[in-house]
Symmetry: C2
Subunit: 491 residues, 2 copies
C-alpha cells in the first residue's frame, strides 16, 4: 500500500513510530503495536504502528511519521512511501515464554536485550518482560546471561591487570563516597576507572557532583588517556554506552516503582563487566527510605551480588551500610562536591560521616587487592597526608578543569516548629525538595543541612537552608516543604 | 504553575493525556506517567503526563492537551490553565501487591477495574496488572471478585425468572450457532437476552452477522422491549456498556497474544451476570488453531467455568466441541447470516455441521431448564416445524429489519494445486483472508468454502471463492492467499 508522508513533528527519543488512519490499518488488518516495514525507493525501516482513530491526526491515504523515521528514510512531508506488515521480533516469543515460567538461555536473553537496546520493543512488551522477570524470578544463570547480554549489546572499556570498581545501590542523599574513595585508591597505585550515573530521582548523582569540578562527558578514548595518566577517573557512564539496555528497562519500572532484582543485579554487574573490573566493592545502604529496607533484604542482595560476581569471574565484596539519613551536610551537586573537597582537604569542619564511610570503603578495596592487611589505616594515611587531594587534582586536570559553579543566590531557611531530638530524616523528601529547588540541573541548588539524626534542636532553630538559582524554583520548593520538611523531631 | 494551552489535535479515545515540555516537567519534578491535576477557573481533570523532549511538539510555558481534555475542561488553544502534581491512583498500589504475589480482595480489585474502566491507568500500568494476574494466577475467589467488579463498573440489564444465556470461547470461523440456538430456545418459551460481540480478530462476530438481518445497536430500554415481546434478542453488547473493563484489558493482552485465564473467565461471566442470567451454556471449541488447543486445556477451562458459575450462583454447563475447522460454508457477515437462514429455513443445502451443532447446544439448554429430558429432540422439532424460523422473524421485526446487504461483486476462486484429501483448514488463515477482503466492516465480503476437512479434491478444483466489495481489497486478499491458502491437502 502506498501512502503520503505526514510529518508528525514529534520525536520519541529512539523508537520508530508510524501512524496510520484506522481505515487504512483495517485494510491491511493491522493493529496498534504491529510492526510494519516502511519503504522509500532505496531505504526501509521497521516501525511500530500506532492507529489514528480520527482523521484529524492522520487521514486516510497518509502515514504519520515521527522524526526518527523521517531522518532514517530521508523523506519529507508529501513524499510517498509503501508499507507492508512484518512479523513481530523473535524476542516477543521469548518474553511470552518467560511469562509462562520458562527458563531463558543466553541467546534468548540476548535477543530481548538487543531489541530493547535498539528500541524495537514497545513499552507494553518491555513491561511484560520486566513483570515476567519480576514475578517468575530470574535464576542465577539467567541473571549471569542477562548481564553478559547487556555487556555485549553495549560498548566496552578494556584495562589490563587488577582493575577496581565500586558501586552503591543508592537512595542516600549526599552519599558521595566515590569522589573520596577513588583518589585514595588511585593514590595507592591502583587502577579505578569509575563511570558514574547522573541523578534519576535523587538530588545529584556522582557524575552531577563531579561536573562541578571537572568535565565528565568524555569519549572512551579520552577516558583511557585519563586512566593511563592518573590511574583513575570519575566520569559520566551514560554517554559512552556501557550496557545501555539498563536505562530503557528502568523507564518501564518507574511507573510502578518496582525493583526487579534480576535486572538490578544484571545492570550493576554489566557496568562493571564492561570496564573489565576484576575487584568490585558494593555498598548497600540499609534504612527506611532507601532500596534495602530491612537487614533481611540487604543480606539477600549481598549474597546475590557475591554469587553473580563469582559466576562472572569477578571478586565481589559487599558492605551493608547505614542508610537511615543523608550523608554529609550538602544535598545537590555543588554542595555535595564541596563536602567532598572539604574531606580531601582535611578541613576540620568537613562532614565526619562522609569521611569515615569513605575510609572504610577505601580500606576494604585496598584489602581486596591482597596487598594490605589494615587497608583503612593505609587509606587514612593517604587521605590525611594530602596524597588523595593531590590525586584528585591530577584527575580533575586530566579530565579538564571547569569553572566552579556559584551557589544559588535565592535561599530559604527551614526552621524547626518544635524542640526536641531529630529522630528521622526522610531521604526521599530531602531529595525531592532539592530537586524542586533545581538540582541536579542547577548545580548551585540544593540543601545545606544543619541538623542530623540524634542532634537536639530548639523550636525556631535552623534545620537546613534551601539554595536555588531562581526565585520561582525556590518558591516551588518552599511550597512543597511547607507541607513536609522531611524531619521528624521527637522528645 | 500556569501554562498556555496547545491543541494537540489528537484523540486517544478515552484516556486523559497532557504533555509538558521536559523543562517545565523538570521544574515540578514530574515524570512521564505521573498524574497531574489540570485546572481551568471552574473545572479540573486528572491527566496522565507525557513529556515532550523537544520544543517542537510542546515548547516551554505550554501544555499540550488531547481532545478529551480540551472537551472536558471546555478550554481552547491559547487559554491558560494551571497544573499541579497529584498522587497516583490507589489502584497502582494494589497492582504492585499482586506483582508481589498478594491476594487481592474485592475492594482492591474494584479500585483497579474502576480505574481501568474510566481510563485512569496507563498501558504500562494495565500491562503490569495483566502480567501479575497471569503469572501469579488469580485464585477462584479473586476471579469471582473480579467478575463482580466488572459487573459493578458497568451497566446492567435485569430480567425476571429463568434467564438463559450462552457463550462460545471463540476462534472458529463461521461458528454462528447463536443465531440458530436463540430462536429455537425462545420458540420453546424461554427468555434468552443475547448480547454478542463484533469481530476483533475474526471475520465476523455474531453482532456483525446479525446486522445483515436486523438492527443490533439498541438502547437498553429497547432491548428490554424486544425481549419482553419475543422472549429473546441478538444484539451488540458493546454499546450498552455491560462490564466494559473487558475491552480495555484486551488492548494490552493483544501485543503478546496472551490469554490471561482469570481475566477471560471474569469477562465472560461478567457479561452473563450483567444480564442476570440464571442458566449459562458455554461452548469451548478445541483444536489446533483455536484458544483451547488440547483436551487438557479444554477440560481445565471447563472446570473453572463451572466453579466460578457455582460461586456466582449461576447454573453453568460447558460443552467441549470440535474446533478443528470452520463451521458452515460462509465466512464473513453476510455469508454466515445466509448459512444461518438456510438452516432455519430447513433448506436441504444448508450446512449440516452448523445445524447439528446448534441443535446439540439448544437441546442442552432446554435440558438445563429442567423442563425437558431429551432436549435435542425438542429442539429438532422446533427447528424443523418452522417455529424457530417464525421466532427469528419476530426477533428481526422487533429489533428492526434492515435491507439485506449485497454479496461482494469482486470474486476470486482459490483452487487446489494438488489432488488429495483436505487434511486441515487453518482457522486463523481463513479468517485473515476474509478480513483482508473487507470483513467484517464490508458485510458482503468473505469466503464461501467448497471443501471441508475429509473431502477429496482434484488438482485445479475450487477450494473456496473470495468475495470483496472493492477490487483493491480483493487484490490485497489474493496477494495474501497466494502465500498461504489455509488448506492442507494430503494423500
Amino acid at each position: 500500500m502506498k501512502l503520503r508522508v505526514k510529518d508528525m513533528d514529534i520525536a520519541t527519543g529512539g523508537i520508530m513510530v508510524a501512524i496510520l488512519n484506522k481505515k487504512d490499518a483495517k485494510k491491511l488488518d493491522l493493529h496498534s503495536g504491529d510492526r510494519i516495514l516502511v519503504k522509500d525507493h532505496s531505504k526501509e525501516v521497521t516501525c511500530i504502528l500506532d492507529i489514528s482513530e480520527s482523521k484529524k491526526a492522520v487521514s486516510e491515504g497518509k502515514i504519520g511519521l515521527f522524526e526518527e523515521v523521517l531522518r532514517h528514510l530521508g523523506v519529507r512531508r508529501g513524499n510517498t512511501v509503501s508499507v507492508k506488515y512484518t512479523g513481530k521480533p523473535e524476542s516477543i516469543k521469548h518474553i511470552r515464554d518467560k511469562l509462562y515460567g520458562k527458563h531463558l538461555n543466553y541467546t534468548e536473553l540476548y535477543h530481548i536485550i538487543d531489541d530493547i537496546t535498539h528500541d524495537r520493543l514497545t513499552d507494553i512488551e518491555k513491561t511484560y518482560f520486566v513483570a515476567a522477570g519480576f514475578v517468575n524470578k530470574f535464576s542465577t544463570q539467567e541473571v549471569v546471561d542477562l548481564t553478559k547480554a547487556m555487556v555485549e549489546t553495549g560498548q566496552k572499556l578494556k584495562f589490563k591487570g587488577v582493575t577496581l570498581d565500586k558501586h552503591c545501590v543508592g537512595g542516600v542523599p549526599g552519599n558521595r563516597t566515590t569522589m573520596v574513595v577513588v583518589p585514595i585508591v588511585a593514590a595507592a597505585g591502583f587502577t579505578l576507572p569509575k563511570t558514574s550515573s547522573r541523578a534519576i530521582t535523587s538530588a545529584a548523582g556522582t557524575a552531577d557532583a563531579m561536573e562541578c569540578l571537572a568535565q565528565v562527558e568524555l569519549s572512551r578514548k579520552k577516558i583511557k588517556q585519563v586512566v593511563h595518566a592518573t590511574g583513575a577517573c570519575i566520569v559520566h557512564g551514560g554517554s559512552i554506552h556501557l550496557a545501555p539496555a539498563d536505562d530503557k528497562i528502568i523507564e518501564v519500572e518507574h511507573p510502578l516503582s518496582i525493583d526487579a532484582e534480576g535486572q538490578l543485579l544484571a545492570s550493576v554487574m554489566a557496568k562493571k563487566f564492561s570496564v573489565t573490573a576484576s575487584h568490585v566493592l558494593i555498598d548497600i545502604p540499609m534504612g527506611k527510605s532507601v532500596k534495602a529496607k530491612t537487614k533481611k533484604q540487604a543480606l539477600h542482595l549481598k549474597s546475590m551480588f557475591e554469587l553473580i560476581g563469582k559466576r562472572l569471574g569477578m571478586q565481589v565484596k559487599v558492605m551493608i551500610t547505614n542508610g537511615s539519613q543523608p550523608i554529609g551536610y550538602g544535598i545537590g551537586p555543588l554542595l555535595e562536591a564541596e563536602d567532598v573537597m572539604a574531606v580531601l582537604r582535611n578541613n576540620p569542619r568537613a562532614p565526619q560521616d562522609l569521611k569515615e564511610k569513605a575510609l572504610t570503603l577505601a580500606g576494604l578495596m585496598l584489602e581486596m587487592t591482597g596487598k594490605y592487611k589494615d587497608g583503612m589505616a593505609v587509606a587514612r594515611k593517604l587521605l590525611e597526608d594530602g596524597s588523595a587531594l593531590r590525586k584528585m587534582h591530577q584527575i580533575i586536570a586530566a579530565q579538564g578543569k571547569v569553572p566552579k559553579p556559584v551557589l544559588g543566590h535565592y535561599t530559604f531557611v527551614a526552621r524547626s516548629t518544635k524542640s526536641g531530638k531529630v529522630r528521622e530524616i526522610d531521604n526521599e523528601i530531602i531529595a525531592k525538595i532539592a530537586r524542586i529547588a533545581g538540582a541536579p540541573e542547577d548545580k548551585g541548588s540544593g540543601l545545606l543541612l544543619e541538623k542530623k539524626v540524634g542532634e537536639l534542636v530548639s523550636k525556631g532553630k535552623v534545620l537546613y537552608t534551601v539554595y536555588a538559582e531562581s526565585s520561582s524554583k525556590l518558591d516551588l520548593a518552599v511550597d512543597f516543604l511547607k507541607e513536609n520538611k522531611g524531619y521528624h523531631i521527637g522528645d
